[in-house]
Subunit: 458 residues, 2 copies
Amino acid sequence: MIAPLERRSLKRLRHKPVPPPLRLVGGLAFLIAIGTGLLLLPISGTRQLTLMEALFTATSALSVTGLSVITSVRDLSLWGQILLMLLIQIGGVGFMVVAVIVFRLLGRRISFTDRIALSDSLGLLSPAAIVTLTRRVLITVITIELIGAFLLYIHWRTDPRLSEGQAFFFALFHAVSAFCNAGFDLFTGTPGFNDGIPRDSVTLFVLGGLIFLGGLGIPVVADLIAYPNERRLSLHTRITLLVVSILVVGGAVGLWLGEAFDKDGALVGQPLDRQIIVAVFQSVSARTAGFTGIANFEQLTPASQLLLIALMFIGCAPASMGGGITTGTFAVLSISLWSYARGLPTAQFGGRTLATGMVRRAAAVLTISLFVVLVASWLLVMTHDTTLDRAVFEVVSAFATCGLTLGFTDELNTFGQLVIIAVMFWGRLGALTIIIALARQSAAPQVVTYPEEQILIG
Amino acid sequence: MIAPLERRSLKRLRHKPVPPPLRLVGGLAFLIAIGTGLLLLPISGTRQLTLMEALFTATSALSVTGLSVITSVRDLSLWGQILLMLLIQIGGVGFMVVAVIVFRLLGRRISFTDRIALSDSLGLLSPAAIVTLTRRVLITVITIELIGAFLLYIHWRTDPRLSEGQAFFFALFHAVSAFCNAGFDLFTGTPGFNDGIPRDSVTLFVLGGLIFLGGLGIPVVADLIAYPNERRLSLHTRITLLVVSILVVGGAVGLWLGEAFDKDGALVGQPLDRQIIVAVFQSVSARTAGFTGIANFEQLTPASQLLLIALMFIGCAPASMGGGITTGTFAVLSISLWSYARGLPTAQFGGRTLATGMVRRAAAVLTISLFVVLVASWLLVMTHDTTLDRAVFEVVSAFATCGLTLGFTDELNTFGQLVIIAVMFWGRLGALTIIIALARQSAAPQVVTYPEEQILIG
Ligand SMILES: [K+]
Ligand SMILES: [K+]
């Protein structure tokens, strides 16, 4: 028997709205559970996958990371590969969009809270017109992917190592994998491709373009599409394009210096135009697609390892297919630093003041990201016989949902796989989502204000 | 002939006050030049030091880092060793205090601007009574060092490997080196001490105590000294003590886990009490004294390498003998992160609101620190045949003026030595000093305010 008071509190418990961050966590976990289950079906594999293999693959696909403990083309059936592609697509375009569609199919109206949650996840600045926008985004995404797939198919169908059917499916799969910045590939394990994806200039150019567009993020793409009519780009779009340009060029120059002039470098002895294409592709891909443009990736020079760790950590634009602390955080921190050094009262850039609270958010993103990378790396080196650089590279790659690896993924034991799964999960949700879900929210607007006090900082 | 207008602007140029950050940079550079010159004198060495050796040693001593390209006890004469001790003392207590004394000796009154500059460097919150405080600080420092030296002398005089005179001078030298968090030692190279400093528990206890007090920083020590009268500790002191406790205990537990349970660990097979003393000492020393409590330091497990990199990077309290981003920055970032996650409007801790602008400053410190470490590490791996972890360890150690090394210092070429010298210089001045000195200061109070605009962040 339940006393009236208890019944009332039970009722309140039942009706207490789940806060958006927690809903995001639950949603991704739910999708991963479904994906794991589907991958475990006998028809999905050419052999029965283990639970850990299926869980790792589903997480990696839905978080568009691309780290893999299986060889997709060999261990998955065609149906399994199609499933993988769908998981990548869902993970990339965002399970939020899926949620919208599900809501529509169920005929339910989207509540205002849901709109807010969606706009949080997609990074949209206004919750209005979300359904319209979602439809437009989906059409844009599929159009871009189909164009990419068509170009890849035209190019690959003449490759003697691929059958007509393979060329068709590979083109589709890799267009999705590239645009979603997932970095999964089917070439590794296919006879004739001992070294993974083909690295001819046309392939690198098409894949690089898809990755680049996917990494700009939905708000930027939407802004660019609207530009011919509106003739105005938002501050967000301008900063994103600027930062991405700096990162791509800087990364490419750095990789070129590191690999073309070191005696063990991967680009030594190649013609200059080829060096440039590979360096630019690898720079684009590092944030955060994870395709390797450089063959023998595990023999990367330490200079390039460091550079790639930095690029991966910064990552892509917010609300894009990629992860990392995001170019937005990077821009805010840089602008704030320079404004502070100049003695300006606020962070300013291009005739605009950065809104109050943005520096606080950016600092929080950086702090929690460093913390997660540090803890996960420590757990890995404690439990594996490996060097520090390989472990840190792997963790940053997982956190940024990048998927590049110095060959460490194959050596992970079950505990290590669980750590990487957790980091991919955290990374895909965005640096702050889990910590906000974990923190006890301050319930009511604060009425007490505490007195201010200075403490010294470095 | 100079036109009147030009003459006027020349005059204005001559009288333009040098901004405090630039004065700090110039002051440290001046001291390093003097130190280098004195070390180059024939009486300073048992052999003639090269310019690079003298420059590196002077920078390392004045920045209380402790990285060394010479073996102090073998390559320096007794006079040279005394000079080294004086450089450490000057670098540790701060060339600002020296500046005050010089001003007083010259009979000039200290201007208000100078007081502000001093209070910036010493991290004091109010510029009042700086001369009195300086005198009190000096007396405190010398008292603590003499007590430490006395204890070390009592303990070391019975060591058959040391003569009476050696025991006396070594006690004095290492008390200064420990309290100033410099980490230079004279044992490396002394017959009978193949493995550097003695690591018996008494030595570790005394050195650890000196390091700990030196690492708390002048404001905290002053606050603690005043406590019996005032019965109140500032927020700064409370946060510093809390953060330092967490870091020491966390670091010690982490090192113990990493070194006592790994098959290659340095603490394997030792009795538990010994394991605890060594782990605590190494944890205290890592931020940022740089004495090695663990023998065969270069064989540290990767887990401990990572932990030490993190501890070094965080470093000591602001305005202390140590470097790093400082415990203050670490505390502000952590508090701000947690307050943000909880949805609070401001960063709050212990019934106090952190003053506006502190998060901005802390974010700036973290950003520029990561940038410096990244660039310097990249320069090192580009120009040396080494692994990434050893280079990053060395750079963080130099930036935090810590002086621990995985044996990489000996392998540095001239370019590498210059990079490390620059990083030590930057680190001792504090993360922001140089960037503020470099930035063109906004001349007048800003009258234009730019409109606010949001950009997305991760
Ligand atoms: K990826
Ligand atoms: K030191």
